[in-house]
Symmetry: C2
Subunit: 123 residues, 2 copies
C-alpha cells in the first residue's frame, strides 16, 4: 500500500508524536512532533524534520546545531497516531548536548542524572 | 532530587506521552499516555499503568490481556514533557498481538508489514 502522510492521525493541532531511536544501538534519543508536511519532507530529504511547537516552524534537526539526524527507516504504529524514526544521529540529540534527552532516571524515588554532555570530540 | 510526578509538564488534558521500550533488546514497543496518578501508580506498583484516553480510565497494562509490562526503569526527558519506561514485556505489547505496535515500515514510498501476530506459545 502506498504511504500517504495524510492517512496518519494527527491531533487537534495537526501534529503527530515522533520517537527518534539510534539505529546503531537502539537507544531512544528524543521525542518531538511532526505535521504532515514534516513527515513528507523527512521522507523526501532523508533529513529528519520536525515541527517546532515553540517556534511554529519547521525544524530540520541539525540545521542550526549541526547535530543532524539522517533517516534510516520510518515506522507507523498500529493506531497510525505515532511515528518511530530510526536514525543515524550526528553528535548529541539533546539541546543539553547529551546524546539522548532521556538522561534522568527515577531511582528509589529520586532523580539521577546518568549522562554527561558530550564534548566536541565525540560529535 | 526527590521525584514528584506533579513536577512533570502535562498537556492541556493533564497527560504526558510515555514510550515503552523492551529492556531485553531495546525495541520500541508502544507509546501511550499517563496522567500524574498513573505515573505515581506505575512507580508504586511496578506495573506500567497508562491513562486510556478512549475509556477515560486507568489502564493497567495487561490486566485484561495478560500482557503485563513490568517496570524496570522510568526516565524523564530534558523538557520534562515525555517519559520513557524500560520494561519486561510479557507477550505482545500491541493489541494486534504483535510484539510491538511499530510493525509497519515505510519503504520506497510503500507501507510494509514486518511482523506477524505472536502465537500463544511465544507469550
Amino acid at each position: 500500500m502506498a504511504f500517504d502522510p495524510a492517512s496518519l492521525k494527527y491531533d487537534a493541532n495537526g501534529l503527530i508524536p515522533c520517537i527518534a531511536q539510534d539505529h546503531e544501538n537502539g537507544d531512544v534519543l528524543m521525542m518531538a512532533w511532526m505535521n504532515a508536511d514534516a513527515v513528507a519532507q523527512t521522507l523526501a530529504t532523508g533529513r529528519v524534520t520536525y515541527w517546532s511547537r515553540s517556534r511554529a516552524a519547521f525544524w530540520v534537526k541539525g540545521d542550526t546545531s549541526g547535530h543532524v539526524q539522517h533517516l534510516v527507516e520510518l515506522r507507523v504504529d498500529c493506531d497510525r497516531d505515532c511515528l518511530l524514526v530510526r536514525v543515524h544521529q550526528h553528535g548529541p540529540a539533546c539541546h543539553t548536548n547529551r546524546r539522548s534527552c532521556f538522561y534522568t532516571v527515577v531511582r528509589d524515588g529520586a532523580e539521577v542524572i546518568t549522562m554527561e554532555p558530550m564534548t566536541g570530540a565525540e560529535s
